[in-house]
Every structure is written in structure tokens, then in C-alpha cells.
């Protein structure tokens, strides 16, 4: 028995050594690579969940950014240098995200497109600030993400979306009684809910019900809908993602409840959900910067490439990531950066340059404030016959 235990511990220690060594090996290998290749290419990293429950968002960002990188490389790169792009998984966990960041740092990353989700982004932003690296997040929308000077957002902040939605409903006289259903365990959703309810006080409608769900109970919305119906709500505000929204719409139909449903940018993607009956979404209004069936050339080209490469229609996350890469490009060009500079040197030049650039992306024309917040206009669209139609 004793020898057995000994053998076991020896075996375990052995595995540990191997894994530690493996870690070292990959480090030295990548260190050499970065030393060798540093003069030729820019190294841009991405971080987001590509496994775990939030995998869908991270995968979209990974693919969207890849398309932008390919396009830029084909067109001659940034300042004449090609881009090398690497994406690491963080499983939507702050600690894993920091690991992913460190792993990219070992690889020689010079600017970061990420991270995809809010909580990990706050944790990583702390490290990028220490390292003075330019960080542009496509989709982490909390204001806590941009407390450091080096972080910029491509998406709207949560408070902006909440306020804009309340104003839009009020000014358009869309409803008199409004119910809100939100995810109380999610930073994005609860952030929008808080400002929406606050702004609603200044508007000409009344919030009659505020109902929550959590990550652990996000399959059944019948009760929340029932309460909204009983309270007489003629509009239901849904500040969360389209997967849950698809269930809400189905269950509302099952109970013959047909208010106006109003979503935010997370709702985008509902029409392309595989197998979704788009008649359920008829009449849904959403504020979104991106519409996959917009008629402009840039969007159509992006959507076509994405479909061809990944066999899916891109959602808002993919579009934000695509624009984020172009924002990095614009900032590096404005700063006249070269790949031989360190991340910090590039950051020193590119971070101040962010407020001077304008990017005309597929999510709109964007400029940035020094706070890191983006200025662009959300479009309100209504779903008619299975497609987005502009409201105005």
C-alpha cells in the first residue's frame, strides 16, 4: 500500500513536471518566434470564451476579427506590415482571462482586441493598463471596463443603451405601461435595466413590472410574462441576448400574450438563429448598431465572407470585432507604429491617437472620447416579414 502511494505521488509529480516543462518550452519557443519575427509583423491578440456557456459570443468575435485581419493583410497590412492574429479562450471567467492574456503576452502581443465579456475584461484591463497596451474591446459594455485610459469600446455602454431605449420608447409614444425582464446575474443585462428604470421616470410611460431571471433559471419565462400581462404592460423591454429572447417570444405566443417587444443590441442575431420560426419575432423593435441585412456594400461583403468561411450569418459581436480590428489599424497608422516597437511603446503613441481617429465601420461611423467610450448612433429597427426595417 505504501509503495503504491509512493508510486502514485511519483507519477503525479512526474506529470506536473512535464506540464511545467511544457509551459516553459512553449514559452521559449514563442519567445524565439517573437524575437525573430518582431521586425516583420504586428502581433494582435484576441481573448474571449470559445468554450463554456458564453462560447457563442467569443466564437463570433474570433471569426469576425479574423475576417478583418485577412482583409487588412490582403490589402497590404498596417503601415506596410502584415498582422499576425491569435485568439485565446477564457471560458468567460476572469481568472482564465488573465491566464489567456499572460499567454498572449508570452507570444509577443502588441495590441489586444478583447476581451469579449465584461467581468473578464475588467480583470484583464487592469493588467493591460499596467503594461500600457492598447486594448479595444468589441463587446464588453460596462462602464467599469473603461476606467483605465488604455481601454476603448466598440459597443455602446450599458447605461447609454438603457437611457437611449427609455428615451426612444418615450419619445415615440410606443407604450404607456412597460414591463422589464432582465438577467439579474448578468452584468450587461442588469446594467441596462438599472439605467432604463431610472430614465423611465423622466418619460411619459410607467414601468409596471420589473422581473428577473438568473443564469441558473433561464429556460422558463412563463411566470415573468404572466406577471407582465397581469400588470397590463403593452410593451416588454428585454435587455438580454437573443437565445433567451427566443424562448420569451415562443412562450409569449403560447400564452397568447402579444405586447410590443423591445430589445437592445444583444437581441440582434435572433433572425438567424438556426431553426428559429421568424414569425415569432414579427413586430419586435430593437436598437442595434448592426444589421446583417443592411444594404451598404461593406456590410454585404462582410456578411458574404463570413457566411462563406464559417457557414453562419454574423451577429453583432462579429461585426463589433471586425470594426475593432479596423480601429486598431487606424490607431496604429495614426501613431505611425512599427512592429519592432514594444507593446508599451505602441500603446504610448496609439492610445492618445484613438481620440483623433474616425472609423467608418459596419456598425456605423465611430469616434472615441478619451474616457474610452464610443460615439456612434444606434439604429432602431423593427422586424417585418422576417427582416429588419428601419423605424424612421
Amino acid at each position: 500500500m505504501k509503495s503504491l502511494k509512493k508510486l502514485l505521488s511519483v507519477a503525479l509529480v512526474g506529470v506536473m513536471c512535464v506540464s511545467v516543462l511544457a509551459g516553459c518550452d512553449s514559452n521559449t519557443a514563442s519567445g524565439q518566434a517573437s524575437a525573430g519575427a518582431a521586425t516583420e509583423t504586428f502581433k494582435i491578440g484576441g481573448i474571449g470564451p470559445i468554450t463554456g456557456g458564453a462560447a457563442i459570443y467569443g466564437t463570433a468575435v474570433m471569426n469576425g476579427a479574423q475576417i478583418a485581419v485577412d482583409e487588412i493583410n490582403a490589402a497590404g497590412g498596417i503601415n506596410g506590415y502584415q498582422i499576425e492574429y491569435k485568439f485565446e479562450d477564457d471560458t468567460h471567467d476572469a481568472e482564465k482571462s488573465v491566464n489567456a492574456y499572460n499567454s498572449l503576452k508570452d507570444w509577443g502581443m502588441q495590441a489586444l482586441v478583447g476581451t469579449v465579456t465584461t467581468t473578464p475584461c475588467i480583470a484583464v484591463a487592469d493588467y493591460t493598463a499596467q503594461d500600457g497596451m492598447l486594448e479595444i474591446t468589441p463587446s464588453a459594455s460596462s462602464t467599469d471596463v473603461i476606467v483605465n485610459d488604455n481601454v476603448f469600446q466598440v459597443c455602446f455602454t450599458d447605461p447609454n443603451q438603457g437611457t437611449a431605449s427609455a428615451q426612444y420608447i418615450g419619445e415615440g409614444n410606443l407604450a404607456t405601461k412597460v414591463a422589464v425582464i432582465y438577467d439579474s446575474s448578468d452584468v450587461y443585462s442588469s446594467g441596462i435595466e438599472a439605467t432604463f428604470v431610472k430614465e423611465a421616470e423622466n418619460q411619459n410611460f410607467e414601468v409596471v413590472a420589473v422581473e428577473a431571471f438568473t443564469a441558473d433559471s433561464k429556460t422558463d419565462f412563463s411566470t415573468q410574462l404572466q406577471k407582465a400581462q397581469s400588470a397590463g404592460a403593452d410593451l416588454v423591454f428585454l435587455p438580454f441576448y437573443y437565445q433567451e429572447a427566443a424562448i420569451v417570444l415562443k412562450q409569449a405566443k403560447d400564452m397568447d400574450y402579444a405586447p410590443v417587444f423591445f430589445g437592445v443590441d444583444g437581441m440582434d442575431g435572433i433572425l438567424t438563429l438556426e431553426g428559429f420560426d421568424t414569425t415569432l419575432a414579427e413586430g419586435v423593435i430593437l436598437l442595434t448598431p448592426f444589421a446583417a441585412d443592411a444594404k451598404d456594400e461593406a456590410t454585404q461583403k462582410f456578411v458574404a465572407t463570413y457566411q462563406e468561411k464559417y457557414n453562419e450569418i454574423p451577429n453583432q459581436f462579429a461585426a463589433d470585432a471586425y470594426d475593432a480590428v479596423y480601429a486598431v489599424k487606424a490607431a496604429l497608422e495614426a501613431a505611425n507604429a512599427t512592429p519592432s516597437q514594444t507593446a508599451q511603446e505602441i500603446g504610448n503613441l496609439a492610445i492618445p491617437a484613438m481620440t483623433t481617429i474616425t472609423v467608418n465601420g459596419i456598425t456605423g461611423e465611430m469616434t472615441w472620447q478619451a474616457t474610452g467610450e464610443v460615439s456612434k448612433t444606434p439604429k432602431a429597427v423593427v422586424i417585418k416579414d422576417g427582416v429588419y426595417v428601419a423605424m424612421d
Binding site: I50, T51, G52, G53, A55, I56, G58, T59, S184, E211, A212, F213, T214, D216, S217, K218, T219, D220, S222, T223, Q224, Q226, K227, S230, Q243, E244, A246, I247, K250, D254, M255, D256, L273, E274, G275, F276, D277, E312
Partner: protein, 293 residues
Amino acid sequence: MDFLSYLINGISLGSVYAIIALGYTMVYGIAKMLNFAHGDVIMVGCYIVFMMMGKAGVPPIVAILGAVVICTVLGMGIEKLAYKPLRRATSLAVLITAIGVSYFLQNSALLIFGADSKSFTSVVNLPNLQLAGGKLTISSTTLVTVIVCIVIMLALSFFIKKTKAGQAMLAVSEDKDAAMLMGINANATISLTFAIGSCLAAIAGALFCSAYPVLTPYTGSMPGIKAFTAAVFGGIGSIPGAFIGGILLGVIEIFAKAYVSSQLSDAIVFAVLIIVLLVRPTGILGKKIHEKV
């Protein structure tokens, strides 16, 4: 009228939990292990139904049958490869292996089907039931789920009590070694249990996704853990217990959302569970454990 609606919603949610819990409780009762991968077998079942209906365009019944066959084979395969070698090891070791299997199934599904969610088309194509002059609507999915759940519970009870194989299961669950001495093939019996459990998982998956129609590689884990809770609630190992536990858990969850606070509903559900277990330490229908010195 609201009260009735909430009650119906609760029973609807509860009956899905109940079907999953039946699978859990069967396996626990006989193999004495918590099969944490059960929820993921459900997910596999969902994907198979989805693929067969959506891509191959077969009718729902055929798709469900296909899922039942594949899940049964999968369940028996998992048992043979991952659990059987640990038959004589501590039950915790099997628990951890089950978690490994659960990760394996989730990540395989992620690679095969992608991270993108799928919207599931209901396998039930019947009109909704209107009661009280249209004031109360019961969806056809709910009705079918509840009926299927009751049928399965009765069939399982009958199987265990009246058939030879069922009696063998009972014997193995009471005392495996004694059962083997009596000439019962314990390995085959346990394998059969996994087959039945996985077959139920496929049916549960089809019904779960019909009621709550979004499918991802992680669809199974949450209902899995809720159903485990339900099984313990009702007294783990007891078939009627799993049914009652499932229904009660669903009703409590909906009532907590409706009448107390939707923000705190998870906490309330679990608090009720704790209180029930303090009053009845082995669940509602659980057997009392007689301690031997």
C-alpha cells in the same frame, strides 16, 4: 386565474424535471452512483432530434426513436468504458469520472455542432387547449409532457415490480453481492439500468427542448442539476419520489418567482429544499436508513 396559470406552468416545468429525475434516480438506486453526465446525454438526445427533424426532415416520432436508440447505445457505452472499471472503487471516484464524461460530451458537442445556439422546433404539433372561454391557455407541449411523464413513471414502477429484470434490479440495489450469489448477472443488470436511464434521457431531451426551445452544448447541465435536486427532494432511489420531487420543484420555482421575488427564486427553491430535508432527512418518499452497528 393567475394562480391557475402559475400552477400549470409549474407542473409543466416540474414534469420535465421529473422525467430527467427518473433517469437519475434509476441509476442511483441500482448503481449507487450520481451520474452527473445524465444531463449531457439529454443534450445529445436533443441534438439528434434536432438534426433528424431539421436536416433529414423525418417526422418527430421517428426522430425521437432515433434519439432513443442512439442515446441508449451511448449510455451503455459510457457505462462500459468509464464506469464499469470502477465498479469496486469508491463511489466518489465514479462521481468524478462521471464529471469527466460530462465535460467530454459537452466539448464534443461544441466541436461537432458549434457554439451557435439552435432553435428547437417542438416535437408536439397539436393546437393549444383553451379553457374558461380563452382565459386560460394550456400549451399542447405541456399536456404531452405531463402525460408522458406519468406514463413513464407508471411503466417504470410496473417494470420494477412485475418483471424478472425489474426484480433483478431491485435485488442488485438491495445487496449486489447477495444478488450475484443468487445467480443474478449484476453487470448486465447495471448495464440495463443505464440503457433505460439513457433512453429516458432522450425522451426528456425532446420534451425539454420542445418546451424551452433553445439548444446549446450546455443545455443539459442546468436541468441535470435541478433534476438531481428533484430526485433527492423526493427521496433518491424512489421512482414515485422522483416524480413528486420533480413536480414540486417546478411548482415551487414558479411560485417563488410569481409571489415572492423573481430575483431571489433560486435561493428560495434551495431554501425550501433544505427545510424539507431537515424535516424528512431522506426526502419525501425516501426510505429510512437503518443503521447497523
